[in-house]
Structure formats: C-alpha cells, structure tokens
C-alpha cells in the first residue's frame, strides 16, 4: 500500500537546500551519480533506464541468435548440443520479447507519454520506479538460470505443456521461466495501470483524447492490452508453477489434465502480445512519417480507431496458433475468419502512412528511413501472416521456418525497426545531442540488408520443409545454401548493431563541438518538441494549454490568405515563456528498489531454499511498510503553490493546484 503521489504538488529544487535530519525514513533529496539513478522517480530517467537495460538484453538475445545461426550454418552442426540448442532458442525468444522489445517500448512510453500530453510526470511516480526495478529484478532472475539454474528454459518461448512439465523438463530452467515471467508481469501490470491513469487523468488543459498524438494513443491501447492480457498468462504461469513445485495436476495428461489448457491460456495472452509488441512501433512511425513529410497524419481518427479495433480484435483470434492442435473444424473456421478480418485495420494503417507521404515534402533522415523500412518489412510479414489465416496453408507452414520468417518480419521488421527509428528521432530530446546521420544511415542499410538476407531465405527453407526448432539437419535436403545465407545475414545484422553502438559513442564524443540541437531539431509536431533538449526535470515551464491537434506545429505555422502554410512564430516565440520557479516535483525514494529486490529472492527461495523466501518476503515487507510511512513529501516542504505565473494561461492552472491526497493503491 502506498500513498498517492501528486507530481505537481511536491518539491525538489529549492527544498533540496533545506536542512533535514538524517534517518532511514528520510527521503533522499536527489543528488548526483548512481544514487540519483537508484532513487529516481522521474519518468524520463526511468525511461532511459528501461532503454539502456533493454539494449543490454538485445545484445544477450542477439548473441543467442548468432549461436543458433552458427549451429545451423551448415549441415550436421555440432557447436551446440541438442539440449543446449533448445535452451538457446527458448531463451533467445523469451529474452527478445520480454526483456528487449517490451521494455524498449516501455522506455518510449515512460519518457514520452507525459511530455506528449503536457504533464509533469506520470500519475504515480514511485510506482513507476517500482515497475522498473521489479522488471529488472525479474529480467536478471530469468537470465540467472544460465548460471545457477543448470541452464535456461528449454520448452520454447511458449513453453507448451506437457513439454514444460517435470517429466520432460526436469531442470530448473522452466521454474526460472515461470517465476521470472511472473515477476516481469507484475512490473508490466503496475506500469500499465499507472500509464492508463496518466493518460486519462493528467492531460494538460485542452488536451482532449482526440487531440492526443497517435503515439500516445497507440501506447494507451498497448497498456490496456497489457492490463487485460497479462492476468491470463499469470494464471497459466501459476498453474504451471504449482504443477512443478507442489505437484498439482493441471498439465499432466496421465491424471486426466487437458493438454490444450496451457495453449488456450497462453495464446489468449500471446496473440494480444503480438500487438503489445507492434503498436508502440506503429505509434512511433505515425510520429516520424508526418514530421518528415511535412504533413499532418492522414486520417487521424482512422489511425486511432484502427488501433483500438486491433486492440479489441487481438483478443478474438488467439486460436489461430492452434489450428493443428485438434480444436475442431468449427473453431478452425471461426478463428480463420476472424484472423483475416484483423488484417483490415492493419491495412488501414499502412494506407494512411502512404497517404501521409503522398505529395509530402519528404526528408529521408535516418529516422524516416527506419520508419519507412519498418512499414515495408511489416507489410511483407503481414502478407505471409495472412497465408496462415488460411487453415489449410497453415497446416503445412506451421512449425517450419516459414513461420520463423513470418514472425521475424513482423516483430523485428515492423517492431524493432520502428523502435530504432524512434531512437534516432528522439535521441536529441533524450540526451541533448543528435545521433550522427552518416553512421545512422549506414546502420539502417546494413540492418535492412542483413535482415532480408537472414529471414528472406527462411521462407524458402520453410516451404522446402525445414522444421523449426531442429538443432541440426542432414545434408541432401537442399537446406545448405539458404541456411548459409541466413547465417551470413545474421552477422550482417550484428555488424549493423555494432555500427549503432559506435554511433552512440561517437555522437556523444562529438556533441560538444556541434551546435546544440535546440528544442525542435526536426521541425516536428507534438508537445515534447516544445521543451528544451534534453528535457528539464520539470518538463514544462508552464503547463501548456492545448488548442488543436498537432498543437506545437500550429503554434509555429499558420496560413496566409491563399491558404499557403506560413511560419508565424520561431521556436523561441512558440515555446512557452515564463520561468519554472516554484515547480513542485516528487522527491526521490529508495523504497521501490528495496521492495523490488525482495521478489527475485522469493523466487530463488521457491526453487532452492524456503529460507530465502523469508528473507525476500521481509525485504519486500520492509519496502512496503517504509514506503507507506514515507511522507508523500517532506512535511516541512512548502505546499503553498506559487500562484504568480506571469502569462496568458492563468485561468487554466487548476491542475497545478492539485493537492496531495492520501489514498491507497496496491503496491
């Protein structure tokens, strides 16, 4: 339980100079270096931490991918044993999905949602920190099974029962999988509730739902998907864990259990998960393409409603993952139909992006290249996806490399490329300097070529009948050539990732000698471009008042009598004036970290020694207790808000008067 925090009403800044007693329960006052990061509740810092950690796990998952491809480069590969191979591809999938692409999207969500809606922070800053620490605890826990668990999970990323039962998977890998995903699930759930409340409740005056940028909309739909999909996999994971730890009989067919139960529960979560992965990227693309086409997004409301439709329909099509599991012809028919329908709103989006570019003044920056590349690759993946919707075709393709090609085109091509574009786009906002464009373009072209070299051939391999998840193959089936090409492609992708990291390093080194990017380097459209780069701690000097969609753009441009677009204000003029004195921000706190640290310990305890559970439980308990007792803000902090804002928006400042209310929330 915790106390509701109101980010608008709490103080740092001048309060940091006030003398206060030291004690366990005193809130840290924000400082420098690592302590600052460990105790931060600033949504921007949390976003950056998500991003850094996600990129770390991208490398981990990438190394696993390279191992897979080395093993398969030539027939009779013997780099990995069959057993290790199973662990490597399982952990590759799990890492890429739960520890790379979802947290990378969370990085954007955390950083950008408050800025795009004109808020000072998320609704519950400390809960936000909690989400991050819980997630990272779960992530480390999951991967620690390589070291302390006798290897990774070996049941595939969807861990079908009874494969994942003790009989077929006796090592601890699956326990780590189940507990690790439960922990990261808590993190996503808390964060989803937090961000939903943020979007619904914390919007600046005038920021109606239908003036919100498409990115915020897509992230909102994503959070709802998380909110409703995660509990279903939570149930599945609990049941699996109870089977394995306490001898329950949920997935043991010999005792009369139904082997399809896991599949249903998993895919009711798993299919929405596909959209949890892809929608943030769609949102990012919808910000980048209008900016670099110098046109508003075409069909804004179609964009929003198709996103919502995808969200709803995403829950109705799960069983297309189960066509070959014997669910019966009627179900197959129904799910086949619904799956084809879901292609419609997705197609709407692609047409809208094309229409946005049509006749626009296109600028092919790196970000734009990534966005367009993502649309193109996603379209290929989408088309091969529609062929699965046809149950007869699926029966042939499923569990071959055709499907491996398909989902990489969707989640890597559509998802990861879009997010990469987002990094180039918002990097100046995040860090106050641009990424180098030359290296960025090199990064883009190598990743695009490498990507198609890797996954293009997999279509062929799949149609030739190469099974998914085989650790090796014999010569003579005609698999040799395309496998070699795919492996070479994987190393080209690896090279491109090195280019990216080199670019990050170089741009940072060069930054002091280059002109600072200013608030709005791309001449963009949404509110985050109004504030300085990098974003100051208090986000907005004045909470902005919103009068139209694309507010920021309309502040810069108007129309002359011939309806031509003319510049009406410089960035400096359009950016809000006023100064940030008396802005109140939430004070940092260590308790989210303490609370989160207990959870992995409970996990280790369940697997190895119950005493660890006690220690972990105590840590979590102390965290909750101290959190609850921690003053929402220091009692001596000044809660008289500063009322002397000096500009024309004065009558809209009700929001800043928001009080600190004590309330309860699940911690």
């Amino acid at each position: 339980m915790a106390v509701t925090e109101d980010p608008l009403a709490l103080t740092t800044g001048e309060a940091a100079t006030v003398e206060r007693p030291l004690g366990v329960l005193t809130r840290p006052q924000g400082g420098n270096g690592w302590r600052d990061w460990l105790s931060t509740v600033d949504h921007k810092k949390i976003g950056i931490m998500y991003g850094v950690a996600a990129m770390f796990f991208f490398i981990v998952g990438g190394i696993e991918a390279l191992l897979i491809r080395v093993q398969l480069a030539a027939p009779n590969g013997s780099v990995l044993s069959a057993d290790i191979y199973n662990q490597v591809f399982t952990m590759h999938g799990v890492t890429m999905i739960f520890l790379f692409i979802m947290p990378l999207a969370a990085a954007f969500a955390n950083y950008l949602i408050p800025l795009q809606i004109g808020a000072r922070d998320v609704a519950f800053p400390r809960l936000n920190a909690l989400s991050f620490w819980v997630w990272i605890g779960g992530a480390i826990f999951l991967n620690s099974s390589w070291i302390v668990g006798g290897g990774g999970a070996d049941c595939g990323w969807f861990c079908y029962s009874p494969n994942s039962g003790l009989a077929f998977s006796p090592s601890h890998g699956v326990d780590f999988y189940a507990i690790g995903l439960l922990i990261t699930g808590i993190a996503s759930l808390v964060s989803a509730a937090n961000l939903i409340v943020t979007v619904l409740n914390m919007r600046a005056p005038g920021m109606t739902l239908f003036r919100m940028p498409v990115l915020t909309w897509m992230l909102l739909v994503t959070q709802f998907l998380l909110l409703f999909a995660l509990p279903v996999i939570t149930v599945a994971l609990f049941l699996l864990l109870f089977d394995r730890l306490f001898g329950a009989q949920f997935f043991n067919p010999e005792m009369g259990a139904d082997p399809l139960l896991w599949q249903h529960l998993f895919w009711i979560f798993g299919h929405p998960e596909v959209y949890i992965i892809i929608l943030p990227s769609f949102g990012i693309i919808s910000e980048i393409i209008p900016t670099f086409s110098r046109k508003p997004i075409f069909g804004y409301s179609f964009m929003v409603f198709s996103g919502i439709a995808i969200g709803f329909m995403g829950f109705g099509v799960w069983a297309h993952h189960m066509f070959v599991s014997g669910i019966g012809p009627l179900s197959v028919w129904a799910f086949s139909m619904s799956t084809m329908f879901i292609a419609v709103p997705t197609g709407v989006k692609i047409l809208n992006w094309l229409a946005t570019m049509w006749g626009g003044k296109l600028r092919f920056t790196t970000a734009m290249l990534f966005a367009v590349g993502a649309v193109a690759m996603f379209t290929i993946g989408g088309l091969s996806g529609v062929t699965h919707a046809l149950a007869p075709a699926d029966t042939q393709q499923t569990d071959t490399y055709y499907i491996v090609a398909h989902f990489h085109y969707v989640i890597f091509g559509g998802g990861v490329l879009g997010l990469m574009g987002g990094m180039y786009f918002w990097w100046p906002k995040f860090f106050g300097h641009m990424l180098n464009e030359t290296w960025g373009k090199l990064h883009f072209w190598t990743i695009l070529i490498g990507f198609n070299l890797t996954f293009g051939p997999m279509h062929v391999l799949g149609l030739q009948g190469m099974s998914r998840r085989i650790d090796t193959y014999s010569p003579g089936f005609g698999f040799e050539f395309w496998n070699l090409v795919a492996t070479i492609g994987a190393f080209v992708i690896a090279l491109s990732v090195l280019f990216f990291f080199f670019n990050v390093w170089k741009s940072r080194r060069d930054a002091p000698n280059l002109p600072p990017p200013g608030p709005d380097p791309w001449d963009a459209r949404s509110l985050e471009w109004m504030v300085p780069s990098p974003t100051p701690e208090h986000n907005f000097d004045e909470v902005p008042v919103i009068e139209s969609d694309d507010e920021w753009w309309h502040r810069k441009y108007g129309y002359d009598e011939n309806r031509n677009v003319v510049r009406i204000a410089t960035v400096e003029e359009a950016a809000q004036d006023g100064s940030a004195t008396g802005v109140h921000l939430p004070a940092p706190s260590f308790w989210p970290l303490v609370l989160a640290a207990g959870l992995p310990l409970i996990g280790y305890g369940l697997i190895f020694n119950l005493w660890l559970c006690v220690v972990g439980g105590l840590l979590t308990g102390i965290g909750i207790y101290a959190w609850a007792l921690e003053p929402v803000d220091d009692p001596d902090a000044d809660h008289g808000h500063d009322h002397d804002h000096d500009d024309h928006h004065d009558d809209h400042h009700d929001d800043e008067e928001a009080p600190v209310t004590a309330g309860d929330e699940e911690a």
């Binding site: 914390m202 939570t234 329950a248 139960l261 009080p659």
Partner: protein, 208 residues
Amino acid sequence: MATATDAAVDTADHGHATSTGISNTKLAMWAFLGSECLLFGGLISTYLLYKTRRGPGPDNTVIPTDVFDIPFTSVSSFVLLMSSLTMVLALSAITRGDNPATRAWLLTTSMLGAIFIGGQVYEFTSFLREGVGYTHNPASSAFYTLTGFHGVHVSLGIVMLMSLFVASKQGKLRQEHSETVEIVGLYWHFVDVVWIFIFTVIYLIPVD
C-alpha cells in the same frame, strides 16, 4: 497502507483536478480490478474445464463435488456478503465524519472477512480428511487453486481494512480521507462479487 499525512490534510480542500474528474487512485483501482476480472476469469474457466476430472488411481478419484457441504458454505458466503454491507456503513460513517463508527464498521467488516477465511480453512481441512488432496486430480487442484486465490484476496483485503483501522486510531484517517475508505471498499466489494461467481460455479451448478 492508508497513511494520511499532514501534507495531505493541508491541501485536501483544494479539490483534486484531473482530466476525468476521478481521482488518480480511484482510477488506478478500477484499472486494477479490471485486470483482476481476467485473472479470476482464467481460474474459473480452468475450474469449469476440470471440475469432473477424477484421477485414474484408487486413492485419487474423489473430487471436491463429492464432498461438498453446501449449507456450511452458504452460511460463510452469507457472512461474506454481509461484510459488503458493513463496508458500505463504514464509508457512510466516515463521510459523516463519525470516526468511532467508522472504526467499528471497519472492524466488523474485517471480522466478517476473517470468519469467512476461517470457514475456508475449516472446509479445506475437512476436504483433505475426506480424501480430496491438492495433488490428487485436476478437479481438486483447480478447486483449491481457485478458492485459494480468492482467499488470499480476502486476506489482503483484511490487511487493508485493519491498516485503515489503525490509521483511524492514530487520528490519521478523517472525514477528508473518505475516498481512501471508498477505494478499499471498491476492492472489498469486488472480492465479494467474485465470490458470488465462484460459489455459483462450484456449488450451485450441478455436475453430472
């Protein structure tokens, strides 16, 4: 838990301005409960799928429906439902500013919840004695897991109520904080409503 700090009191009269007019905490509770629906949905579906699945061996063929004591469970369900009523009374007491009554109703609600949990413990032990073990067959695994999850929810609710009680004793829970009671109440009512579903599914729908 409900820690109403002085800072909160200072500013509570400003009125909470959010875009929807619903406070952040209350909205977050609604979101959380929305997600809980799916959690219980998954557990209830699992139970429905498994409720007649007996194990193959001689020792593990008894399933919960063989040994139900419907009158007993009906009484404890009634007790739980009454606790929703007392929860409403607690809320109305605090909105009136009647702190002693608030405490009394909070305590009553927790007691009723505790009686329900006591009944569940009794039921579990008597089922065990009659040969329905957690690991015996899918039906019993599903039964204990579903009702167990609900029991944990009720227990958490009791912890919340007692924390409110303590806060009130310390003078930190006053009329201005009635929304805190309301939010805990939302949770409590939710847990009660879920029990109605569980009770119907497990005890009232006949199995053949």
